[in-house]
Symmetry: C2
């Protein structure tokens, strides 16, 4: 097992990465300061791992709430259902919530913890690759609004993150690839050596080679923890670089309807779009663009826009993105592989050209 | 104009108290760091003061959202309506929300600010006495759940509080008295000299004598600011003392339906119930209890339980209160006028006796 710390003063917390961690009872219980625990999971994950988790809490008052699976349930209605469950079953302020599932469960549970009785503790137990390398680390919590993804939420840090690599065995292939998209992102925005490693090891990763997976999760979490420690609340711009591909990606997700494309799939193609624009700006070489395109393709990620996606849809959805400030759209673009910038200083005609080309391809 | 600071390190902020403050444009604009402002108000307050506030923001992009009036609208549906309005009108993360109204508007607006795009700035402009002396100061934000009052929310501090005493002229008598209930509370829990002052000046206060009002608001805010600075997140127990009368009061509000009794009315009678129990415990003298009862009566506040309120209803609603920890109910009780304690060490038979007596009276 490897352990990292996300350094945030009194909000610091460890990320544990390893195999069979769910069987290590003490790993979870040592982060729970009172005897009330409430697990939130979904219909897909609960049959696989809920019993194992409940087993850790035999000596606790421990309940659970199971949500339907999917991004389209990451909304206010699910929040209200969680609150109702907690109140009806008399869970008080000393309760610790446990998020058992992928990014949707993690974001919902974190936001429930941030807002139930004005804030209670929570633990992240991510069971998808995407959640292990991205959403469970860093304290972004929230839900979608029908008009925009992640528009409602707060920054709220967990007490710990337990990334049990053994849970990845049951993950379906599409979900695995979606996680690889976020892993590739770290290489692209700040870690060129890791990107080279990924080019060499992508087949192993997709084949779930345990060593390759462990290395990729570990290196991704390390990158994420450094960024979050530097800019917890996305004030300085450093953390915003993590949104590489996300503004385009969110437009795809919102436009198609949440859950039609997986978040990681939308981000993968969003990164390609951002790189296309970066090439047009003269910042990135065509050669590097093609390297990334090839890698995404090898990872079974989309390298074409969704059918019927219109350039106007992108414009419409990108205009309500959280990256809009005072009417200006900020995008994360690449100067080279391993070097990203957050900027509003791009040529908007080139953006339109990019959207048109991508939608026609 | 008087100014206090709520001392909370980088979250510190001023409370301005005075007359005609809404006309002092600069007072508000100096706390707004970008050019986007969005005012949230209700159907009762907006016709009176919205134009005045908008006038301060002539040079800003400034919109507004008007909610129906009343505690029964302090819920998730109103939150969703605010989010929709903000997204549709393209208000971004650099927007400052302005809460123009009473406690309901302040709590909703604060929670919207805490959760829109993971947190934006907001300003409190309380227009009721209760909001000026209590809810607008200290960063408690949130909404009610059908099963419990204020069960959903977060701690989130405003950039400033502007308490314009001139707005109290239009307040109806019942609302004024509701505010006086919270003012009396400060005397009871920590400021015996202020309580004596209130006994002497209650008629002036109810008659809206400007000097008496100014003094009462000022002294109340001073008390509140000290408590909040000491225990922002209600961890040490100090801040919990502000909930004197609230556990009983919330049970009344939830049981009757939000808005049937005003919050301050429910708190007033809740304080009497807590004092009744304090007398039974042998902590408070009957004489002091009667002093308070008389003062509340002079302030036109309820000194009897609502008709048809059953002891069982209190038990049921108090068992889901935020003051329940690990199955134990904590209550704020009085040792004497000016000295409150948070305790689970009361005799539960005496609590039942108190509930029975109060419901039969």
């Amino acid at each position: 097992m490897k352990t990292f710390n996300v350094q945030l003063d009194e909000r610091s917390y460890p990320i544990y990465i390893g195999t069979s961690l769910l069987s290590q009872t003490e790993l979870m219980t040592k982060h729970i300061s009172h005897e009330h625990v409430f697990v939130i999971s979904n219909e897909k994950v609960a049959p696989l791992y809920l019993d194992k988790v409940l087993n850790s809490f035999k000596n606790f008052k421990c309940g659970y709430h199971i949500l339907p699976d999917g991004e389209n349930h990451k909304n206010i209605d699910s929040m209200q259902a969680i609150y109702t469950s907690l109140i009806e079953k008399h869970y008080d302020r000393n309760t610790t919530l446990v998020a058992l599932g992928g990014g949707v469960i993690g974001d919902l549970t974190g936001f429930a913890a941030a807002t139930y009785q004005r804030g209670i503790n929570f633990i992240q137990v991510p069971t998808t690759l995407l959640a292990q390398v991205d959403s469970s680390v860093g304290g972004k919590t929230g839900v979608n609004h029908p008009l925009g993804k992640n528009m409602i939420g707060s920054f709220y840090q967990p007490r710990c993150v337990i990334a049990d690599l053994s849970t990845l065995k049951t993950l379906d292939g599409r979900e695995l690839s979606a996680g690889v998209a976020e892993i590739i992102k770290y290489g692209l925005i700040r870690d060129p050596d890791f990107f080279s490693w990924l080019e060499k090891n992508i087949k192993k990763l997709i084949d779930r080679d345990p060593e390759a997976l462990a290395y990729a999760v570990h290196r991704s979490c390390e990158n994420k923890a450094q960024i979050v420690a530097e800019d917890e609340l996305e004030k300085s711009g450093t953390r915003a670089l993590l949104n590489f591909g996300h503004t385009f990606g969110h437009a795809i997700e919102t436009s198609l309807g949440y859950g039609v494309w997986l978040h990681g799939e939308a981000v993968a193609y969003g990164m390609l779009m951002a790189m296309r624009l970066s090439v047009k700006q003269g910042w990135l070489t065509e050669h590097d663009y093609l390297r990334v395109r090839k890698l995404l393709d090898q990872a079974n990620l989309p390298i074409k826009a969704p059918n019927n996606m219109l350039a106007e849809k992108f414009i419409q959805h990108m205009s309500v993105d959280k990256k809009v400030r005072e009417g200006k759209l900020y995008l994360v673009l690449l100067k080279s592989i391993g070097e990203a910038i957050l900027t509003a200083e791009f040529n908007s005609a080139l953006l339109n050209e990019t959207l048109d080309e991508c939608c026609k391809s």
